[in-house]
């Protein structure tokens, strides 16, 4: 196999990435300094990244540049300065941690939360309530060429039998979350039906989540396998050995210090 020459920064990157990945996986053995280091680096780097991007996007692109342009074009017009309103409110928001003037942040929050609540009400009713009712209320029978028929095809989501199942499911689960009456008699039957529906949906979600998490693992392993190649100087394999040895060393050192009990 001919060895492709990779640029130095790519090889270096592979070593760093593989090392950090293995540090984090060392948590599977137990909580340890390597994991803690990886985790703190992760927080630090993502915060740093957010700061840089937020600065360039919010301050420069949305605030500074439009303001500069507007003021440059019409310095006398008050409209040019309108962006100072949200900027001021944004600064108010940051006063939350200065106790003497933290009340200023309430004004900013009031603005954001008020807008958010107002915007949400009609849209929630439209998309999450009316639209959902609309799709649940369907005729159970259809008028076909041969007169009235009811679809018994389970595989067709819109068939009559599935319409009934959907209706029973929605109503019984809604009833389970109905708190004004005690679940006795007919109510109990409905609520129990609701629970079974809930459990089936949770089961399906569990199965789907397993799939999701395994995919993430596959993605990470794919990188580790790539980095184990000769082109990358067998980064994964070397670093795996280093990680394992460090863990053993750490374990021995702490055992000696605490007299047998390993720390958590």
């Amino acid at each position: 196999m001919p060895e492709a020459m990779l640029p130095t920064e790519v090889v270096l990157g592979a070593w760093v990435a593989a090392g950090l990945t293995l540090f984090i996986y060392s948590f599977l053995y137990k909580d340890n300094p390597l994991f803690k280091l990886g985790e703190h680096l992760y927080v630090g780097i993502s915060v740093g990244y957010s700061v840089v991007l937020a600065w360039h996007t919010v301050f420069l692109r949305l605030l500074w540049e439009p303001l500069q342009k507007a003021v440059g074009e019409a310095p006398a017009s008050p409209d040019s300065y309108v962006l100072l309103i949200p900027a001021t409110l944004g600064v108010f928001m940051l006063t939350r941690f200065i106790p003497q003037i933290s009340w200023l942040s309430r004004i900013a929050f009031a603005f954001v939360v008020g807008f958010g609540s107002g915007v949400a009400i009609p849209r929630t009713i439209s998309s999450y309530i009316l639209k959902q009712i609309e799709d649940t209320v369907n005729p159970l029978l259809t008028m076909g060429a041969g007169g009235l028929t009811m679809g018994f095809d389970l595989a067709a989501p819109q068939s009559g039998v599935n319409t009934i199942i959907l209706l029973v499911g929605v109503v019984s689960v809604l009833f389970y979350f109905f708190f004004s009456v005690e679940h006795t008699g007919a109510g109990m039957v409905t609520a129990r039906t609701g629970i079974y529906f809930l459990m089936i949906a949770f089961g399906a979600a569990f199965g789907y989540t397993v799939m999701s998490r395994m995919s993430l693992l596959i993605g990470r392993f794919r990188d580790l396998i790539t980095f184990a190649g000769a082109a990358y100087g067998y980064a994964t394999l070397v670093l795996l050995a280093v990680t394992v040895l460090s863990l053993v060393g750490w374990e021995l050192a702490t055992r000696r210090k605490t007299g047998g009990a390993s720390p958590e």
Binding site: A17, Y42, R96
Partner: protein, 217 residues
């Protein structure tokens, strides 16, 4: 002062809330312009809100370092990583690529942040397996139903399951499209009603905890 601290925020919430609830029903350009401008303002304000979370992080770790509590070295590592990233980021003008070539900032992103974030979540794959082994029991009829549904979906969503037991594919499709939809829809309706109720209470000043502090403030 009491007015500024207490009534003014409530008044702003009320006015904004009512105005933008009704905005939805008003197609007139005046109303459209209002939402265009205010939504842009919100973009800017929420940009600032991002720094709110950062401030508390800064504070917590600064305290750890100055007091030298156990593990303060990790806080120091966090600071170094954060400041390093910021410096490199500004040095690269916030660009990850320039003329097709990667900047130092882009390198940092690709080789540290991407693997770290991805790995953190992939750990859950292991925990989901051990949870499945230790906790996933048919303790009751409800738990059994959950278990069977989970196993069927796990089968039906991968090629090996579809190959060995082809019916799991169809059953999975039906479970997701009909039973699961019904439950999600009911939850959605219930939760949305909760959300609308909360929004109404916020607008009307009945619910004030978002302003922080005690509930009477």
């Amino acid at each position: 002062m009491i007015f500024l601290k207490r009534q003014l925020p409530l008044a702003i919430t009320f006015v904004m809330g009512i105005a933008f609830t009704f905005q939805y029903y008003i197609p007139h350009p005046v109303s459209e312009d209002a939402i265009t401008n205010v939504s842009k303002w919100m973009q800017i304000i929420s940009g600032f809100a991002l720094f709110l979370g950062l401030a508390s992080l800064f504070h917590v770790h600064a305290v750890k370092i100055t007091r030298q509590v156990p593990g303060w070295g990790f806080s120091l590592a966090l600071y170094v990583a954060m400041i390093g990233t910021i410096v490199i980021g500004f040095w690269s003008h916030g660009e990850t690529k320039v003329d097709g070539g990667q900047t130092a900032f882009g390198w940092l992103y690709d080789y540290t942040m991407v693997p770290l974030q991805g790995t953190m979540f992939s750990i859950l794959a292991f925990f989901i397996a051990s949870a499945a082994y230790r906790a996933f029991r048919a303790r009751s009829r409800e738990a059994s139903v959950l278990l069977v549904a989970a196993v069927v979906v796990m089968m039906g969503r991968v090629p090996l399951g579809q190959f060995l037991l082809p019916w799991t594919w169809d059953v999975t499709q039906w479970l997701l499209n009909v039973l699961n939809s019904a439950v999600r829809r009911a939850i959605l309706i219930g939760v949305s009603m909760g959300a609308v109720a909360l929004s109404l209470k916020i607008i009307l000043g009945i619910e004030r905890s978002y302003l922080g502090g005690g509930r009477d403030q």
